[in-house]
């Protein structure tokens, strides 16, 4: 469900000129709605509010996207992004799934390689055959990198794993 819910979930989701206004009833009504429909709020990232008065004196999170719990099972890691105000004083909301980047994949060595008599010779042979020019450290880095992909190839072609 997408749209103006005109209600807030936490007291901090609205800032206004009258800071002493009690929003707790509104919060209660949102939570009641959420309880009755089963629709859940999705974390909003990148900004706190989705609507601003032009002079920024009043801001609120009146727009939101709420989803049924199954949604989060199907699309886990789904987040709401509020874009910056550009053509409107209302922020566009984007619901998207961002895949997590775990960084470079670690290199793993298998015990079976060590047990295979051919592995040692293969490494020795490859290591001595690389012709790389440069400082010692650079040569070592380059050799390790090439070795990594050659081991992968060896694993596939020779061990057929």
């Amino acid at each position: 469900m997408v749209g103006v819910l005109n209600s807030i979930r936490f007291v901090g989701e609205r800032r206004g000129q009258c800071s002493n206004v009690d929003y707790s009833r509104e919060v209660q009504s949102f939570n009641k709605f959420s309880g009755e429909t089963g629709l859940v709020d999705i974390p909003l990232v990148s900004r706190k509010f989705t609507w601003y008065k032009p002079n920024d004196t009043v801001k609120s999170r009146i727009y939101r996207i709420v989803v049924p719990p199954d949604w989060l099972v199907k699309w886990s890691g789904c987040k709401q992004y509020a874009l910056s105000r550009s053509v409107s004083d209302h922020c566009a909301l984007i619901l998207k799934v961002t895949s997590i980047d775990w960084g470079t994949k670690p290199f793993r060595s298998f015990d079976i390689w060590q047990k295979d008599g051919r592995f040692r010779d293969f490494i020795k042979c490859q290591w001595n055959n690389y012709e790389i020019l440069g400082s010692g450290l650079f040569v070592m880095k380059e050799k390790l990198e090439r070795l990594k992909s050659d081991i992968k190839k060896w694993n596939r072609d020779v061990l057929e794993m």
Partner: protein, 105 residues
């Protein structure tokens, strides 16, 4: 899977903003309010989305007020039914996209 919601009124700047957003964010499903459109014909719909790979349901503006449009990429979503009411549109359909990240077709 990306769903977008924005409040907007007429004007080329805003239309371009939308089609740029749709392209940049690779939007599958899009909800717009305060369209001020009584009717969205093919030309206008394609222009708003930035391509013709789109279907939509409109809930027309009355006396230049309100107006909702719900748009989606044809190969991402298939409409099965809808209902328009005063100030709301209910859309029922099937996602054609799946997978953990919703990006595989």
């Amino acid at each position: 899977m990306k769903v977008i919601h924005i409040q907007i009124v007429r004007g080329n700047v805003k239309k371009n903003y939308i089609s740029n957003l749709v392209r940049k964010e690779e939007v599958f499903f899009f909800c717009l309010q305060e369209t001020k459109y009584e009717q969205v014909n093919e030309e206008r719909g394609y222009q708003l989305w930035g391509s013709n790979d789109v279907d939509w349901i409109e809930n027309g503006a009355v006396n230049n007020g309100g107006g909702l449009i719900t748009m989606w990429r044809k190969n991402a979503f298939e409409l099965t039914s809808f209902r328009n009411g005063r100030g709301f549109t209910i859309i029922e359909g099937v996602w054609k996209i799946g997978g953990q990240f919703g990006l595989q077709w």
